[in-house]
């Protein structure tokens, strides 16, 4: 993809070539930036991704703690319900969600996208965080409890710092979810100024009138932050993913 983004059309159509001319670098990217509103798209994607991350973590922390630490009636059902959400296709819920969003005035807004994306990432994140909290010894909490710390305070001040690496992993997963999400961004948002990068780029799939090197340049700009972000916390993501699934 990166190679193609630097190869001018004529050279590309001549056959597979893997030697882009570096001189093209500037021209291609400037051209892409001037013809395609990539900055707006990326900003929208960023808002959605960050919002999804913050909201998902905020919603997931306490349930994860409850599922890890307490024995209570209905725990099994809660776990099953979380798993069941994994079966729901986004494409199926789009229609009813459209109606609900219409009532809450959430249609055509990035806030709406954040809400719906969080709903899809919360179950996964609860599960991952639960796995991490499971491995924090309860004794650590006892001391804080004796000192008069309330249960919500214990979660925030004692447990949260101890599961920080997993929290990082969970954040990346939620961020990706928001950054990559396509179906809802396509159907629940209509105005061009609120278009996310996934929807904007999707318009280029199979379309041949836009110069391919511009499309590739935009794709590179869209993909690079995700991959860089991922590489940055890769270790934690892998740990979190495996903790959630191997034990699960």
């Amino acid at each position: 993809m990166f190679v193609t983004s630097l190869t001018p059309s004529e050279a590309l159509f001549a056959g597979p070539s893997f030697l882009p001319r570096l001189a093209e670098f500037g021209t291609t990217y400037v051209e892409a930036l001037s013809t395609i509103p990539i900055v707006t798209w990326l900003l929208n994607s960023l808002i959605v991704a960050v919002g999804t991350t913050v909201l998902s973590i905020a919603i997931s922390l306490y349930p994860a703690y409850a599922l890890s630490r307490f024995r209570f009636r209905g725990k099994g059902i809660a776990g099953l319900a979380l798993f069941a959400t994994q079966m729901l296709p986004e494409a199926m819920l789009v229609v009813p969600l459209y109606a609900i969003f219409g009532q809450f005035k959430l249609l055509n807004s990035l806030t709406g996208l954040i809400f719906v994306n969080a709903a899809f990432s919360v179950p996964v994140i609860i599960w991952i965080l639960k796995g991490a909290i499971d491995s924090v010894p309860v004794e650590i909490e006892e001391a804080a409890r004796v000192d008069g710390c309330s249960p919500p305070g214990i979660v925030l001040r004692i447990v949260l710092p101890l599961v920080a690496p997993t929290l990082a992993a969970a954040s990346v997963i939620a961020f990706f979810h928001g950054w990559n999400e396509y179906v809802f961004a396509q159907t629940l948002v209509s105005s061009e100024s609120l278009r996310t990068a996934s929807v904007g780029l999707a318009g280029f799939v199979g379309e041949l009138s836009t110069p391919i090197h511009s499309v590739m340049a935009v794709s590179v700009i869209y993909t690079t932050p995700a991959i860089l972000f991922y590489l940055f916390v890769q270790r934690f993501v892998v740990a979190g993913m495996t903790a959630g699934s191997v034990k699960g």
Binding site: T85, P89, E90, I100, L231, S245
Partner: protein
């Protein structure tokens, strides 16, 4: 906390309530509405105008040849995803478990496809499978097979093309999870087997595989469920075509809702997909319950 009085501890419920309410609003209620829609005749143009038709939508589905084709495509797609993604994940996990120079970098590189946005993957895929410039058509021509159309435009090759791209995108998850499971296999077991004169294949089958089996089964469940609901890659690349050759249940659902504007039939397709996912999950739970009982 509630040791002095045997009263109900409300704390876990209070901790769970916000998330429960949230998921109820954004997943539970829409799901119930979708269930109801599947029993009605509703057009996308007049969504509030539903006529109750009972199970007519379902009856019509199972009578239509097209829907049976969809079920078959979904089956082939899902099973292939499970076998290929876990197979490739298993092989790469074994390779990455062996000590070699640059292993840390290799482990990172393997996971990158998982981080790539599906839309970007779709854009690359249209070029990889392009009729004139794509490498697959080049390979085909090199093998002497006539290749006039891109794989994604060919009823014969579209599903394999979608599978190749899907597997490339999802195998890192299996790889990473299996690698972690591999590292949980005690080294002493493998060494003991080696001393007893077992070859690599025997060790794999007798020591490694039994330890990994629960993980593989759980992975299979996840890959199945995720494959049943995968939308963006397939929709962006083929929209279920050509001639329905890549039309999975979810794609069919979307087609019916937004192209044919038949919300009732679309919801019915969704319910069928959900029933399949539920059935597979129940089978899994029963199977793992049984092995639990025989092992302890």
């Amino acid at each position: 906390m509630n040791s002095s009085r045997p009263s109900i501890n409300w704390l876990p419920y209070i901790f769970l309530a916000p998330a429960g309410l949230y998921l109820l609003v954004f997943q539970g209620i829409p799901l119930v509405q979708e269930m109801y829609l599947s029993l009605t005749s509703t057009s996308l143009l007049t969504p509030r105008n539903n006529t109750f038709v009972g199970f007519d939508n379902y009856v019509a589905l199972f009578r239509s040849q097209r829907f049976l084709g969809t079920v078959w495509v979904t089956f082939v797609y899902t099973v292939s995803c499970v076998v290929l993604a876990i197979g490739l994940g298993f092989v790469t996990a074994l390779l990455l478990d062996a000590p070699f120079k640059g292993r840390a970098i290799a482990r990172t590189i393997v996971t990158i496809p998982w981080a790539a946005p599906p839309v970007a993957v779709a854009i690359i895929a249209t070029w990889i499978f392009n009729a004139q410039y794509g490498i697959f058509n080049h390979a085909q021509r090199a093998l002497g097979i006539p290749a006039y159309e891109g794989w994604l435009d060919s009823p014969q090759y579209a599903l394999p093309a979608i599978l190749i791209i899907t597997v490339w995108q999802i195998f890192p998850f299996s790889s990473v999870v299996l690698l972690a499971a591999l590292q949980g296999v005690p080294k002493e077991l493998r060494e003991a087997a080696q001393i007893d004169g077992a070859n690599a294949w025997h060790i794999l089958m007798a020591v490694v595989w039994p330890a990994l089996r629960p993980t593989v089964v759980l992975l299979a469940l996840f890959v199945t469920i995720w494959s049943l609901r995968r939308f963006d890659l397939i929709w962006l690349l083929t929209q279920g075509g050509p001639i329905g050759s890549t039309n999975t249940l979810v794609i069919d659902l979307y087609q019916r809702a937004f192209v044919s504007r038949d919300l009732g039939a679309a919801a019915a397709v969704g319910m069928v997909g959900l029933a399949v996912a539920l059935l597979i999950t129940l089978l899994y739970i029963r199977a793992s319950y049984r092995t639990d009982r025989t092992e302890h």
